[in-house]
Subunit: 127 residues, 2 copies
Amino acid sequence: MHLIIDGFAANRKTLESEDLIYELLDHYPSQIGMTKVEPPRVRKYIGSKPEDWGISGFVLIAESHISIHTFPERRYVNIDIFSCKDFDSEQAIRELKDRFEFTEIKSYLLNRGLEYSHMETADLKAV
Amino acid sequence: MHLIIDGFAANRKTLESEDLIYELLDHYPSQIGMTKVEPPRVRKYIGSKPEDWGISGFVLIAESHISIHTFPERRYVNIDIFSCKDFDSEQAIRELKDRFEFTEIKSYLLNRGLEYSHMETADLKAV
């Protein structure tokens, strides 16, 4: 199951902090029933346009991953939660809404991973 | 732009090799016009079911990432190419087909990232 969340967020402090993104990636997997397999990797990115800087973070979880890319000047964030185990996507969205204080959000759920590896049409939907 | 590829692959040598997945993540970004911002992270994963072991790899590219999760015993692989810059998704799929020798493949293209951050309905399609 792969939950994709793109949105605008009011909590600039979280968007611009390597420490807060690290802490989120460090604790979030267990909050939603997943197992981290190594510590998160988080780094600041400075793009060709100075206003597009941000924080990129990634954590490997059992068989899959969680990633976050923030753009503090745009108040924008892209989040992926990809797990071979099913998880409560509504709870996941709720917790991220609390953390980032989203003002606008688009999210998608894609059934993928070993359990969905049969090659019939995948269930891909906006949520 | 986010290209998602799930498939069954004949090239077991690639599926089971940390070195080959590392080399792919190390060279593939520049092949499709992307800029790596740090070396790839690759590790072997051994799950609760022994037959579900595999290789997980991840590389941060400018503003986004590429990830690969393989399951050699299942001949199965999940690939994500998420870039804020548009890229030639057909070329990307072609090159991965050569590498993994896919026998079955499902792929999706999702318009996301800064350039698509306007909150209208996203263009999400099977490709």
